[in-house]
Subunit: 357 residues, 2 copies
């Protein structure tokens, strides 16, 4: 939960989020000086850190949005658990917090035991990968309050993750970020759980209502291309922290893309970033941009474009961190560096995109 | 999350919950011996307790189901926060856990700033009453994946609560319950967030599609009668625990009613309960039973019938506990007692209902 930046171009969604945040903020006094005291480090950062006993915990909730429709279209359900777990555990680890537990709520119109089993199997697999224990769950039968694509069971799925900040470590809130730090990009093979509205718009304009059946490449359909599960970065980052890698900041690239999510890490120290060697843009994004056509600025704002997480480290730790990531099965590269001047500059081939001031 | 009792009469919902629980259980090894280790005390009890550092925490998630439709029908939104907070904090306190923090997810089709503001104001008010800080929130715009009644914004709303078990106290899992213990019933003025399917069925059969406009009593409509917000019991119970009242068990009466929820508290020690002086059945339930007509057994199984929580205490603490509850604004009475023989017996006027063996 973040307080949106103030400005004149607030969307209705931003206004609603700001309203919700305003009301939530007024509840913080409930736990002042007691277990559960929120650790609000500064305006604009996550409010999800709380003090309990001697520990600093974090709690974050999110859902997988309309990626569910792609599962409905393809009839493939067991990968969505990876998206759900990734959304919440990678938000926690972006604070330097080790995810430990997870609860989930599955809202359905009607029940299909096979679909539920596939979803929960996927949640299990992803939880094993993320090293979290699933300790709560609720399946709510809501009838016509839930809709979706085609016949059969439709659903919306969300989760909450709990985690703990390693003892003696400060939360990663951007204040440790220094000019000259290296930016290590962890690759993302496809869309995580955001940016589906634009993807659907592009594909349905080109391929019609049954866009998911249209060929993508190598015998795969567009449905399959959009369904590629999210990579879960948290264990890699937790291990790096545990073994003393001096991470200065972590950006989990979801809605808002690199500009917003890396921007949040840069904000506390009013720094900027040059990204001149990002990972190759995966075909799914390149083809969507071409089909739209989608303006580059919009694409980088709504999609991860192949970078799912950015780790900020002192430059002398960068190549070892890349090797560590690769050994953990996640291709990574030094994609750029922190600089004094504010704003984010993305250089790709002959194109230069700048965000912020 | 509970493992449903095995049996031949499992509903599809039970089967789906059992499947989800089975997969979740296999993730527990992820945290064995580490922060976040689930404290699974025995099969059939909540799995929501986890060990973190020296503390025992609990995490629970739930939503307010189709009570939302009643808000849509009446255009009154600010009370739903009480239902949402009650669902999760009162599940925590039933474990002896003090609720500390809350996150929420609001899934919407379209946004209406006025509705969002009313919901979040209600969440704030209820959080203040429940003494929890709201530290996370997400508003997800899901378009046609969300449906509801009439024009305007439709939504589904769920929350996760975090709490801590007071140091040195065991969780309330029913094992402390003794024959002869008193059962203190805390009154509930109306429906909490369950039992709305049956209520709607009864009312639409009698009053048609616009049943919410039909008169209930004293100038109030049926819509208003069903919307009465949930009472939040947690602070009362937390204070009792803090001040040393020896609570042996707590049952939060939601779906499954007194038979299921008190039954869960009785199960570990294979005890029974006689309820021969329950609070008066509030008019909303009495009228629904009459209109249906709804068989008594079904009514007591699906609705709280005027008792929202049952506290199990040694008999010599019962009247003081009732006074404490009344002083906190919650009418209460000694409604019965624990007995050796298993099963739950509800005596009301000339009627006797028995559940279990």
């Amino acid at each position: 939960m973040t307080r949106p930046a103030s400005g004149l171009d607030l969307s209705l969604g931003d206004l609603c989020s700001a309203t919700a945040f305003g009301w939530a903020l007024r509840t913080f006094r409930n736990r002042a000086g007691r277990d559960g005291e929120p650790l609000l480090r500064q305006e604009g950062t996550f409010a999800s850190l709380v003090l309990v006993g001697d520990a600093t915990l974090a709690l974050t909730s999110d859902g997988i949005g309309t990626k569910v429709e792609v599962a409905e279209r393809t009839g493939t359900y067991h990968t969505l658990g990876w998206d759900l777990v990734a959304m919440v555990v990678d938000d926690l680890v972006a604070l330097g917090v080790e995810p430990t537990n997870l609860t989930n709520i599955l809202d359905v119109d009607t029940l299909d035991l096979g679909v539920v089993d596939a979803l929960m199997r996927g949640l299990h697999d992803a939880a094993i990968a993320a090293r979290v224990a699933v300790v709560g769950g609720e399946i709510a039968e809501l009838g016509t309050r839930i809709g979706g694509w085609g016949p059969g069971m439709h659903f919306n799925w969300c989760a909450t993750a709990l985690g703990i900040l390693p003892s003696g470590q400060p939360p990663l809130d951007g204040r440790a970020v220094r000019p000259g730090d290296a930016l290590v990009a962890l690759e993302s093979p496809g869309l995580r759980s955001n940016g589906f509205s634009l993807a659907r718009r592009v594909l349905s304009a080109r391929h019609g209502e049954d866009w998911h059946l249209a060929p993508f490449e190598d015998g795969a359909s567009w449905g399959e291309a959009l369904l590629v599960p999210s990579r879960i970065y948290a264990p890699l980052v937790v291990d790096a922290l545990t073994e003393g890698v001096p991470l200065h900041g972590v950006a989990h690239i979801t809605g808002g893309g690199l500009p917003d999510k890396l921007g949040r890490v840069l904000k506390p120290n009013r720094l900027g970033a040059l990204l001149d060697d990002l990972p190759p843009v995966p075909p799914v994004f390149a083809r969507l941009v071409e089909l739209g056509p989608v303006p580059s600025r919009q694409a980088w704002h709504l999609w991860n474009m192949g970078t799912g997480m950015v780790l900020v480290v002192p430059p002398d730790h960068a190549s070892a961190l890349c090797e560590r990531a690769a050994a953990a099965g996640c291709p990574a590269r030094v994609a750029g560096r922190i600089r004094e001047s504010s704003g984010i500059e993305i250089q790709r081939d002959s194109e230069v995109l700048t965000y912020g001031d």
